[in-house]
Structure formats: C-alpha cells, structure tokens
Symmetry: none
Subunit: 206 residues, 4 copies
DNA sequence: TATGAATGAGTATTCATTCAT
DNA sequence: GATGAATGAATACTCATTCAT
C-alpha cells in the first residue's frame, strides 16, 4: 500500500534498495557480456554502454573487472549450493530426489550466472578466489554424490561408480550451458526435465 | 640408412621436414599455454620463452595468435573426426562400437589439443572460422549419434533419446578435459575405459 | 559564560566563525596529506577521509584541489612574510636581528604549511599563482638580505656576498623542513636556535 | 681507426653500445621532464614526444615510469657518491678538501639528474627503493661530515657542530638546484666555486 | 550543510604485429 | 631462419569535479 502522502525524497532504506538493484543490474550485464563475448573480449566500456551509463559508474558498483567476474561466479555457485541442498526431502526416494536435483541444477546452471560460470575459464581470477570457488564446486558435487549413494543404498538407483556418475551428470548439464540461450526453443526447466528423465532412466535398476 | 657422404647442408626435403617439426612444436607450446593460462592471459612472448626463441620466430611458424589458436582447434577436431570415424567395424555390435568410440574420443579430447579445444572458448576466433569448426563438431556428434541409433536398431543399446544421450556422453568427456593433467594419476586411456564402462553399462538393455 | 537563554540556532556570526574553523581544518588536513604523501599521490577523497567527511564537503570549503594547495602555500608565505618583517627592532644590532629572524623563519618553515611549501613543488599550480607566490618569496628573501646588509654596515656581521649568504641560510632552513616531523625529538624552535647559533657564529667578524 | 672495410651490419658490440646510448637518452629526457614539469605532470607520452619516438619505445628502455624515476635518482646519487669520495687526497688540508668537495657536489647536484633528485619528492617511488636511496644519501652526508671533522682536528676549519654544518652546506647546495638552469648566466662550476668560497671563508678559524 | 551518485578526461601499461638486418 | 627494435591500438583504472537531493 502506498503512503497517502509520498515524499519525493528517498528514504535511506529506499536508497539502499535502489543501490542493490543497480548493483545487480551491473552484475547481470557483466555476466551476459562475459559469457557471450568472453571475459577478455569484453571491455568494461561495453558493459557500461549496455547499461547506458559511463565506465566510472560501473566501477562505482563493482570494484574491478576481476571482482565483477568473481561476483558472477559466486552468484552462480551460491545458487547451485542452495538448490542442491534443498533437493527434495530426505525422506523421499533417491530416485525422486535425483530427479528434483537435476532439474534444479539445470535451472541454476542455465541461468545467466551459471552460463558465465561454465563459459568463462577461471584463469582470470586470482588463485585465492579460485580456491574459494573450487571449494563450493566441491560441495555441490558432494551433494550429487550423496543422492547417488543414497540411491545405491535404498535400491532406487544403480550407481556402481558414484564419483564418475556424478561427474557425468554434472558434465552433461554444464555442457548444456555452453549452447543454451534464453530465447531458445526450450526453457531451462524443460531441458532439466529432459536430462532428469534421461539419467534417472539410465540409472534405473533392472 | 644414412648416405655414405653426409653434406653439412640440408636437402630441401630435410628442410621441409624440420620446418614441420618446428611448427608442431610451436603449436604444442601454444596449445599448452592457452589451455593452462588461458588465451588472453598468454602473450606470444610467453610461448616464445617456453620454446627458448623470440617472438618473431613464433610468427615465422604461426601466422598470428588467432591463427595459432585456430590451428590448435583444428588439430583437436581433426583427430576427433578421424577417431570417431574409425570406431570399430560397422559389422561389430553397436555396444562394442560405442565402447571403442568412447575410449578413442577420450584419448583425443584429453590430448593437449583436445584440452585447448574444451578449455579455450571460441570467442576469440573470427566467425568464419568458428563456423568451420562447428561443422566438424557437428560431424563428430553425428558419429556418436549414429552408433547410438545403430544400437537402438540392433538392440544392443537402449537409447530412447539419441540426441540427448549423445550430448550427455560428449559433455561428460569434455568435462573431464577440464581437469585432466598429463602427469595425473590416470592415463587418458584409463579414463576413457572408465567412462566407456559407465555409459555402456547404463545403456545396456535389460 | 553562556547566555541565560541559548537558542539552538546559531547566529550568523557563529556560523561564520564555525565556517572559518572548518575551512582551516580542511586546509591543515590537505597540507598534512600533501606534504606527507605528495600532491598527486593524495586524492581529495583521502583528505576527506582524514576529516571523516565526504569529498563534496571538502569542495564546500575549498574551491578545487589546486586552490587548496595554493591556499596552503599562501598560509606559509604570509607567515614567513609576517615574521621576517617583525624580526627585531631596527634599532637592534644586525647580529641580534639575524638571530631572531632565523628562529622565526625556522618556526614558520617547519610548520605544517611551511613543510607543504618546501616539499610540494609548485609545478601543480597555475603560472599566475606561481608568479604571485614567487613575489612573496622574493620579499622574504629581501628581508634576510636587508639584515645582512645592515650587519655589513654596522660591523656586527661579515657578509661579503649578501645574496649568496641569504640563499645559503634559507636553503639550509628549507632543507630542514624536508625531514622535520612534529613529533620528532626536537621542536621547531630548538632547531631554529641551533641554526641561529651556527650562522651567527659563522658570520661573526673576527 | 676505422676498419678499411666497414660492414653495414652492426656488430653485437655496436648494438649493445647503441642500446646503452639510447637508454641514456631516455633517462635524460625523463629526468629533464620530471624536474621541469614534475613527475605526475609528466606523461610518458611527453617524454616519448621529446625523443620523437612512441610510448612503447620508452617502455622498451625503461621498465616503468617509477623505474625511470628511480634510475634518475640513482644516477644522481651514484655520481654524488663518487665525487664526494674522491674529494682531494687525504693528505691535503681539510680546508682544501672541503673546497674541492663543495665544487664537485655542486656540479653533481646541478646536473640534470641532480636537479631531478632535488626537485622531485621521493613519494612516488616504492618504500624499498626509497630506503635504498636514503642509504646512499647518508653515505654522501657522511663524507661531508668526515671532511669537517678532519678540519676540526687539523685546525684548518672551525666546526663546532659537524652534523648541522654538513646539513647547512648540503641544504644550501640542494636549494641551488631548485632554480639552476643549464642555460643560465653561470655554470655549475662557477656556482660551486662561489659556494666553496662562502663556506670555506665562514668556517675559517680566526 | 552534507552526501550519494555520476561523469569527463587522462594515463600507465600491455601486446600483437611488423620490419630491417 | 632468427632477432632487436619499434609501433598502433586497446583497455583497466583513477580522480577531480558536479549536481540533485
């Protein structure tokens, strides 16, 4: 509900919110440019132009080009972290959980940040940040393995080699992020469902 | 057999051969640097230093930086093209052919050129070259699909969705190229065998 | 004692006074930063941070960065002008006047503004301002020469080459401003006395 | 003697020599620009223009702007180090040695590198380099003090306060470097002689 | 008064590429 | 064949300055 009397001055709160919105816009523009044109083929000037602002404004919201990339990576990985954690109730069968997880993973990895993560090699961020990012990747990988292990135990999935199977699933989904486009014929969710069907089918005990 | 009288001057033939050897060395050094440090984080000066020569020498064997990258890509794709074409006699069962193909694909994609192909985004080569390369990729993909289709027909494999299955297989193998190292614990062949087992097992009719 | 009824609103007078105090604080902070870190290595943001305000506030009290520097220079030169003018009564012997003058000069040149003057080259202010400043320097120099000339006349000092002697005295004192620190072992006055002793002794007729 | 047959190709030796000459030219141009316009008011592009080359050429001979400044400083300090070391035979009277030393110091400090040293504050070089430079300054200062001490001992000079006297001498000479110009009315040597006369006279025992 | 946001202008630095030797 | 020298073009980043609020 809007206040009866709206002040033309923004409250401190509004300003903070607006700032967050703008920073998010900068990050999205960067992620889009980086994933489409490549990190080094993108000048921050390009990002600025896409946003219809000037270069220093981009710097006002993002410390440096590298920091921008790192922030995009983190957005992607944090989302992956969240969604893989929440992949269905532990009470459900591993098969159902795997289905949910694959779909959620697909949606995350096919998002603009996810595409940035898979398409831009991490050579361009400093080793400490690289290490930090790899730790999250590892966590996400562990979540996939956990479901497969559960499946081997409850008999709802065959998983002779949990590690490799997890790699194959993630690899296949990541590969999809290399060609996926927002305005393509299928939505991220549809692709996720397709892959879920494929893998759950392939891992179905006979 | 060496000639009875060896001249200190090289024959035109020798010269050509030597030139080929040197060009190959330049390409390998470039592929290694590009895949390890990234295309734009690699200065041709670095490549030159690795070879213990100077920058103009690199130019003597490689037209330009972009051309060097394109040549690395082609080396990788041509090999993939060759090995997928030769994946077992058409007379063999699709299951056996798939096994052979996966192993051969793995060896190719885990080679230094294959790693360059998977790790370096193709944003940095000109659109025409990109198109050319994608055509070869498509051919290779078709080879995988063909084996899967054959498997669906001869009953040695289940492949409800040939296209996606092919993508998943290639995606998983390509993903392996992101972390594979020449001096790691397992050889490319071993990894290939592992994946072959995994996929052939998963696609086994019940 | 406070007025019986204090208004929470400041009088126009108070406001002016407060403004002067704040401007002085800005100038001192600028002088300190410029002399310690250098003019170009100091961003106005740094000055603002030292004062715990923001950049536009600094602009509110100082027209521009260059104007700030010019104001610091003027503070220093005006003080030098004042103290060298007041160096002892004309009736005193030149020797005594020189002693007083050297001490006063030392105190002025070792102040924060004096250090700013000696440490920051005047390349960064516009030629017109440079000219203006040099005129004051010249005046100050003339004051020193006048005392030396008086000494040559009244026989209390030997000064075969007034011009060079004046240069040497000023040069030595200015040089001290390059290493002097407020919290060093000796006060500005002590250093001044030391130099006074040195020069008066050296210029003592035999 | 030129060889009877001059080859149009430069020998490796010639090349090295030429390179040294060019590097020296770059340093001199940098020192000139830095001391006249100030370090930060000089763009390397300006230096390049003075030399009629392009910016990257300047980089070919000088690692970075800071390194260029440091090299200028070192040129100046090394010369000061050399000439103060060689200030007359130890057998000579301290008075004569002081005369020689002041003249030599003056010539060094009034050279283009010396002027760069006195006019450009060392805020712009990194702390390690600053430390290194200050060590040389200290050595030079010690040389002056040593002569004064010798003078106090052999009775050829009065020096009640060796440390301050040395500071005064160096300060006065350094100050001269602030206004000296190559095409001014007096040569560096003349100025040096003038100062030598002044100080030796002032320090003459009565 | 004081501040958050935005910008114009400038500059150090890098690097692919060329060319005379 | 191979190299030292030189350059054109690009780009990240900084900072003084302004303005609406």
């Amino acid at each position: 509900m809007a206040p009866t009397q709206t002040s033309p001055w923004k409250s401190a709160d509004d300003r903070l919110r607006e700032r967050e919105i703008k920073r998010e816009a900068v990050l999205r523009a960067a992620a889009r440019a980086f994933s489409e044109r490549g990190f080094h083929n993108t000048a921050l000037e390009d990002v600025a132009r896409d946003l219809k602002v000037t270069k220093p404004t981009v710097y006002y919201y993002g410390e440096s080009k590298e920091a921008l990339l790192a922030a995009c990576y983190r957005r992607a990985l944090d989302t992956l972290d969240d969604v893989t954690l929440a992949a269905g109730p532990e009470s459900a069968s591993a098969r159902d959980r795997l289905r949910v997880l694959i779909i959620a993973y697909a949606e995350a990895i096919l998002s603009i940040y996810g595409r940035c993560l898979t398409r831009v090699p991490d050579n361009s961020v400093s080793p400490p940040i690289r290490t930090e990012l790899r730790a999250i990747k590892r966590t996400v990988d562990d979540r996939i393995r956990a479901v497969l292990t559960q499946g081997a135990e409850d008999g709802s999935l065959i998983a002779t080699d949990v590690k490799m199977t997890a790699f194959a699933i993630a690899g296949a989904l990541n590969a999809a992020a290399l060609w996926f486009e927002d305005d393509g014929p299928r939505t991220a969710r549809q692709i996720g469902e397709h892959y879920a069907e494929l893998f759950v089918g392939a891992l179905q005990p006979r």
